[in-house]
Amino acid sequence: MTGNNPPSDVLPEELLVLRRLNESPNVLLRGPPGTGKTFTMRRLKARLDSGTRLFDTSRVENPFELDIPDFRGETRTEWLTFHQSTEYEDFVLGMRPQPSSEGGVRLKPRAGVLLSLIKHVREGNSGVIFIDELNRANVSKVFGEFISVMEADKRLDWDGNATASSISFTLPQLNEGDSIEDPMSEQPIDSFERPFYLPRQLYIVASMNSLDRSTAPLDSALARRFSQIPFEPDYDLLRQWVDVEEDDPAEWISDSPDDTSVGALATALLYRINTLLSATLGQDFQLGHGYLDSLKEDRSDESQIRKLAEEWDGRIFPKLQELFRGREDQLQPILRVETNDIFQADVLYESELDQLGQNTAIATASLSSIGDNDRLRRILWVLAGGTD
């Protein structure tokens, strides 16, 4: 699809992915949740769908020379979100029963996204498959024989020619002369030359959470076939969202809650949590800046502190509970409490307040339910690392 305007600005991450695609047709964005992997892929897809070409306004000689792929012809993109039910039949080739002329049933081949895009590329175009949550499916099974031919040197070269290292693959399900139904095109695929080769102009951009305890780690054979780009929490971007100029974390938290802006509070809170998560569980377990993306909307200071409390209740604290399930004692330093009974919120926050020299019990686990904004700000200030 072409003709829609792309996003108005270009993210550094988009350029990085494009440059990596020039070197490797398979790129994997890898990092903790909320670090912008899916966001980057969506932006890139919109840009490619628009059909426009990036250029550098500061360059006088060939402003188009950016070491990114040319994306010849019409660029078709497909978006897949892998899940436990994603199958080889969805991605490469399926066989669907159809009534035959003899009155029985015959199996009709049906192209998956990969085969459909191979056809598109062979017609002189480009194709990009975006796969979100790559490791939520059984990837080895979904990719099938494609795994062994997906690296750049195993594919056809840029001009569509097989090289000494190109590797072909066969699809044993197909008989000679079979026409393949293509659900993404009105025309069936009936002119594939065999054996199959993967064209260089078919790109895969995938994302996965670096350490998601609810999924299996990525097959190492597959992982090494991707050029990986690490994504990390971006405090500079978060500071832009919440209007914090100071870039030194030591300066984000002032001596008192009242002197600390909500933006600085939010930035310091995420930074402190991630510092402790990195030390206890590892860098892959950090929380991305996306956990606080709702704060980028312009609000009053009062509304913003309440929004931060909502994000703590709804996203940050549940994630911490998930990460430390079975070893809650390790949460103590993050929450700055000295009790094992940390999930008793009244204990937690009473303890916090005791620590601060106050003695007001809080009857609920939810920070959002605290009506007094000054008290709320003080608790968040403590969680962000503030000390009297």
């Binding site: 270009v10 350029l15 628009s50 070409r53 250029f55 306004t57 500061s58 006088v60 012809g73």
Partner: protein
Amino acid sequence: MSDSVDSLRDCQMVLSRFVTQSGFKALRDLFDVDGGGQRWITLGSDERILEFFNITSEIEEFCDGVDESYNEALDAELEDSSQDSVSFTIEIEPIGRIDVPESEIHLKYTVSRPWQIPVTPPHELWVSDDYMPTVDDFGGLDSLEDNYYTNDRQNPPIIYFIRDSSDEFHTRTIRNVNSYTISAYPGLLQECWKRYVDAGGERENTALVDFFHNEVTTL
């Protein structure tokens, strides 16, 4: 993630014009002052040029409405008002790295004639010895003919305009168009410029590349 991306934009379309010998002389102000030689670069009469430069609504305003043809509407309006011509201004974005400031060009329409860009003065980049041929590159002044439609050089120079996705305009040049100098450009531009070189630089030397619609059109 430290790559600077502030200067990156998305290009929608490119309008390119091969520089003919007379166009080169106009750019370099080489015509005899009293001889009435051209002081412009001719773009042609195709109305897609007006769409590219996003001036159709200005023309409609000037003509108090346009039924079908912009050129015909302008002819009628100019005759009614006893004006010879009308010009529309196009802002050209700066070029950071060589410090070329923001500037403007004018698209000029004269009754029943092709659209022109007057080159008095020319855009700074179009007359730079670094980015356009010199008179010596053409073999000296005596070798230059008043050739309005072709450029007999094997590797002619080109001027092109980029329209970005914010509808802002940029201009660049290529000093010598050949397979090597255009090899790192997007495939559609290469295709467009090869067409001209392969055709020996005959007449239709303004071309539009539309990345939105993946099209190359000779105008």
